[in-house]
Amino acid sequence: MIEFKNVSYYYNAGTPEQVRATKKLSFTIGEGEFVALVGHNGSGKSTVARLMNGLLIPQRGEVIVDGNLTSDNKKIFDIRKTVGVVFQNPDNQMIASIIEDDIAFGPENLGLPPEEIRKRVDWALESVGMSEHKRGTPFRLSGGQKQRIAIAGILAIKPRVLVLDESTAMLDPVGREEVLKTVMELKEKEGMSIVLITHFMEEAIKADRIIALDKGEKVLEGGREILSMSNELDRIGLDAPFAARVAGKLREKGVSLADNIYEIEELVRNIM
């Protein structure tokens, strides 16, 4: 679906203030896969999101989406139809002041007939559970609700990959829960690939695969077992999930516990 091949990206390239954001990054995202991209602030993870749909074009290496290079100007429209990116601040992603008009912005850009746009808007709002707010304004909604609207705006384009760039970072725990639940449902029902970019390790628990970045480089890649590598995660400025940390400390003290404990429920079940 998405392939990164030795991707290096520099901000202000060619000037004295040149900053490297990613370094020889290589990985793939498969069809229907849920990948969590984790990293500390400044690890280059937001750059990766912008590289995925061609908002940024790498100076070295290539990003291939569904067989198309993001550097190919003629294919950029197809790439953005395939990869939908939801950003951090929902307030800055709204284009219209009425929710259904905002959701319709994407499909309108695709040049779909009005009946099809209507269908997609209704479907997208249904998928994120915001149908009853259709004709309202986003201003009075909570952060979690606003972010769900932003997701619906991308969904209406019907991308095959949904990229969430720190989309939960500004939300309270309830809002975060809301958004993650919505995303999981989309993966199950629509078979969408999900790329969740975050620095909350708790959010990565549900992922099929976890990729950890540090200073623009890939340092760890693998399944949930990464979450219990407290020392490695510490080194790149990340906290292992609470339950994994507790389990680790208990093991150090000689308590015998199962190997794969990441969620509080699992921990409780094992101790009882």
Partner: protein
């Protein structure tokens, strides 16, 4: 469409609300043009009755409408006074103030000035009715469509409309942000409640600068979000809401055109009606350009 919290829009389901926004735009233009052809009290009176009838139909509370007119009350009074003081009389007219060099007030001057004030009043009444019954979004949509022929001369109609709608959408967001910055500055001891205008203006500077900077960041984010949602200008773009003229739009147009015609007849008397000739010679039916009416 409901619950748009800014602008003047008053949500209701009256027939005026349901008219096509493009048609309303056209009607307001016609109405404004018409007002400039009116030059007698009796016709102004008729127009006012018509306008107030529209307010009733629109179900917008009367007080709300009057409040929007109140804003230009000052302008009306100012223009009335200046015009009365400085307008010379008609040929052969004797000033009401006798032989005084200043002020020399003429009856025709007072009539003329009051016509002007009435004209402004009618203008504001009609146009505010448009903003009361049309959401900003509908309005920008209508403007985009009404001006779309300008695309032929490469005028960026779509871009202008998009800029307008984004500006409207950002108003509440920026207001909220301004509030936050003011609170943050207050927490640092800034003084906003000072009565001194200069102090107050100075205190606004540390509010405006952060607001300005963050607006740029917002603009960048918004541009990214728009790109991510496949935006590539007006080319190949379709719309969710199609605008269609309906029978009621046609009827509304006919009504306004008929009134316009009646106003023209009253002014130019195409058909040489005797009663119009008679009205033209009275102070309440004629214009201020005629020789001073003999009745007074």
């Amino acid at each position: 469409m409901k619950a748009v919290s800014f602008g003047q829009y008053y949500p209701s389901d009256s027939i005026l609300h349901r008219l096509d926004a493009r048609m309303k735009l056209l009607l307001v233009v016609l109405y404004i043009t018409m007002i400039f052809f009116v030059q007698s009290y009796i016709v102004f009176f008729a127009i006012l009755i018509f306008a107030f009838a529209l307010v009733l139909i629109s179900k917008v509370p009367f007080l709300k409408v009057l409040r929007s007119v109140r804003m230009i009350m000052f302008l009306m009074i100012f223009m009335f006074i200046i015009t009365t003081l400085f307008r010379g009389g008609n040929v052969g007219e004797v000033a009401l103030t006798g032989d005084l060099r200043f002020p020399s007030i003429y009856l025709s001057g007072i009539i003329h000035a009051s016509h002007m004030a009435l004209r402004i009043f009618c203008l504001v009444l009609g146009t505010s009715l448009l903003t009361f019954t049309t959401t900003p979004v509908e309005l920008t949509d209508a403007i985009e469509r009404a001006f779309s022929p300008l695309k032929l001369i490469r005028f960026p109609v779509h871009e202008m409309a998009l800029i307008m709608s984004i500006a409207l959408r950002l108003i509440p967001t920026l207001m909220e942000e301004t509030g936050k910055i003011i609170n943050a500055q207050k927490a640092r001891g800034a003084e906003f409640e000072s009565r001194n205008i200069f102090k107050k203006a100075k205190a606004m500077l540390p509010v405006l600068i952060p607001l300005f900077v963050s607006s740029f960041r917002r603009a960048e984010d918004l541009a990214n979000a728009m790109d991510s949602r496949c935006y590539r200008g007006s080319e190949g773009r379709t719309r969710l809401k199609q605008m269609r003229y309906r029978l009621k739009d046609l009827i509304a147009l006919l009504v306004v055109v008929a009134i316009f015609f009646a106003v023209l007849v009253f002014r130019y008397n195409f058909f040489d009606f005797e009663f119009i000739t008679y009205l033209g010679e009275t102070w309440w039916g004629g214009s201020s350009d005629l020789p001073p009416p003999s009745i007074i």
